[in-house]
Amino acid sequence: MTSTVTRLVMDTLPQTPGQALAAPAAGILVALLVIVLIARLLLGVADVPRSRAAVRTLDVVAAPLFIALAFILSTRVLEILPLG
């Protein structure tokens, strides 16, 4: 795989998973996931009516974003590892 990665591509690739997550598109996804998880935690302990329904609604967003985060991280690691 290393031989197929040109110098230009290597320069634009993130060097660490943290840099990858700071990239604009993935960064927005991670920020949204953090916001949703915080809101979910707050709703879980809040003494408000329909909080259980609200938590279930937020799960609709949180779970797919969490799966996407796992795929983003794994793919970024696959990108970084061959570069040494």
């Binding site: 927005i28 996804l29 329904a53 279930r56 609709v60 967003v61 996407a68």
Partner: protein
């Protein structure tokens, strides 16, 4: 003077097929449409179109931000709505910007396209199942029920034939599944499950069902609109028109039978022919 029209009962009694108008009259009437429902769907559609325009004009990052904003807005609106068809439609339509976000953020540079479909599909399936759990929908509620086998086979064959114009419009797509029987099997399974079944479950199973509860026959229009919106990123007008026509066909089939079995067969056959079979045969 003899009557101009023949009584429908007389036709039925002679063993002929029921008069078409007679069958149409037994369907559910259009009924009264709540103006607030029209405003809701128009607002959701406008937001999704705006997010798509931002994506096409501004690029990936602004597009993800726009779709994230729409997603949060739809979730917030659904939280404020009472349980009912409007909430069901709002939450199911929230899956559209969610899936667009996934398609924009999940990296596809070093992953074969077939596994990219798998990544998006797994996350989308999770969202669909959690939406069904939130709305207390059973599999039967979203059209996962048996259908006449003749209808399933007929729509499946029609889908396979429609795969030819789809291939001619879009051109060959390299899924990168590798050669051999294993690559063919993996690509076939991914395309059938994560393109055919997933999209029909979302568009015809969830969105059209919610739209039908709000607008009766207008539910087909809602599902076709959502399908066209998702495919508009192809920037190919001929393909978007083709998708609109095929989505209308699948929507009418699903509404007629109350099951998504036939549309799933048709969509899976179409995608399989377009993405797996024809590239092998013609390249």
């Amino acid at each position: 003077m003899p009557p101009i029209t023949t009584p429908a009962m007389a036709i039925v009694s002679t063993g002929a097929r029921p008069y078409p108008l007679f069958r149409r009259a037994r369907r559910r009437p259009l009924g009264q449409v709540d103006p607030s429902s029209v405003s809701l769907v128009a607002g959701i559609g406008a937001c999704l179109v705006a997010a798509e325009v931002v994506t096409l004009a501004g690029g990936t990052a602004p597009g993800v931000l726009a779709h994230a904003t729409v997603l949060l807005a739809l979730v917030a609106v659904s939280l404020r709505q009472p349980a009912g068809p409007a909430q069901q439609l709002t939450l199911t339509m929230a899956l559209v910007p969610l899936i667009r976000m996934l398609s924009l953020t999940l990296p596809a540079a070093i992953v074969p396209i077939v596994y990219w479909y798998l990544e998006i599909g797994l996350a989308a399936f999770e969202g669909i199942f959690l939406t069904m759990r939130r709305l207390d929908l059973t599999p039967r509620d979203v059209g996962l029920r048996s259908a006449p086998i003749r209808e399933v086979v007929a729509v499946g064959l029609a889908g396979a034939v429609l795969g030819i114009p789809a291939y001619l419009i879009v051109g060959p797509v390299d899924l990168g599944q590798g050669g051999g029987f294993l690559g063919l099997a993996v690509a076939s399974a991914v395309v059938i499950v994560f393109v055919g079944f997933l999209e029909e479950l979302l568009f015809r199973g969830l969105i059209q069902t919610a739209g039908t509860k709000l607008f009766s026959r207008g539910g087909v229009i809602v599902s076709v609109g959502a399908t066209v919106l998702m495919y508009s990123a192809s920037l190919n007008p001929r393909y978007v028109i083709f998708v609109a026509l095929v989505a209308t066909f699948f929507g009418l089939v699903a509404r007629r039978s109350g099951s998504i079995a036939a549309p799933v067969a048709g969509h899976a056959a179409l995608a399989w022919m377009q993405l797996v079979v024809l590239p092998i045969i013609l390249s």
